[in-house]
């Protein structure tokens, strides 16, 4: 498949991205670059200076809503990608409402509780929609422990071990690897029609 054919195939696809932090912002940008037709993004948070160590935002965007800035940044890269924006703190009900028509959903939350909510909600109400999870990306090094595996409709990207803490913060390189592995898995699902 050449890039023209890839773009043709991706232009009618919709990818839902739940959370616009380190995973969501980087994954969304990668998917916009390759030509995914529509992205549905949701987050309630504003950009803080310490987010810039890994999230796809700029210094002059500090203090603004992540969803608004991510939408703007995507438009600067590929105006052909439509971005649907939801300024909301997601829960089980809104996850189903917002993402039910997505071809693939990307889980891009930071908190384990929210990751559990989306896995349980999607397994129950959206069992046919592939859900790509980011699990385990704290710290630095050990690139080879990061992997991808499939469990039914779940696709798990990450090392599945390293939880963030004061001494093991999330940083651009490792978060970026997992975010791009999620984007790569989305492409695999959409292009190979898994």
């Amino acid at each position: 498949m050449n890039f023209k054919q890839i773009k043709e195939k991706l232009k009618d696809k919709t990818v839902g991205i739940a959370g616009c932090g380190g995973l969501g912002s980087n994954c969304a940008v990668a998917l916009a670059r390759v030509g995914v037709g529509k992205l549905i993004i949701a987050d309630f948070d504003v950009i803080e200076e310490n987010n810039l160590n890994r999230q796809y935002y700029f210094y002059n965007q500090i203090g603004r809503k992540k969803v608004d800035c991510l939408s703007e940044n995507i438009q600067l890269i590929n105006p052909g990608t439509e971005v649907e924006v939801h300024d909301i703190k997601l829960d089980a009900i809104s996850i189903v409402e917002i993402y039910q028509n997505s071809d693939v959903i990307v889980e891009a939350f930071d908190k384990a509780e929210m990751k559990q909510t989306i896995v349980e909600t999607a397994s129950k109400y959206l069992p046919k929609t592939p859900l790509v999870l980011g699990l385990g990306m704290a710290g630095w090094g050990e690139s080879n422990s990061i992997h991808c595996r499939q469990a039914d409709n779940l696709f798990i990207c990450g090392d599945e071990v390293r939880e963030i803490s004061e001494d093991l913060p999330p940083l651009a390189p490792r978060v970026g690897i997992v975010a791009h592995m999620q984007a790569n898995t989305v492409l695999e699902i959409l292009l190979n029609e898994l």
Binding site: K115, V119, S123, L135, D152, L154, I156, V161, E163, V175
Partner: protein, 67 residues
Amino acid sequence: MNITLNNRPQFFEEESLTIAEILKLKKFSFKMLVIKVNGKLIKKNECATQEVVDGDDVQIIHLISGG
């Protein structure tokens, strides 16, 4: 019994085990878990009674903060 645990083959001496027993044997200690047996979501209060037998596909997924 031979089962598939997290996409890998796994042998246990026992002919069947509950999910709770597997969690203990395999030392899964994380608090936040999603467990699936043959694609079916297993709730926390079902772990002590849900039996796993030969040929089952078991997924035990740690939910880890970070993103």
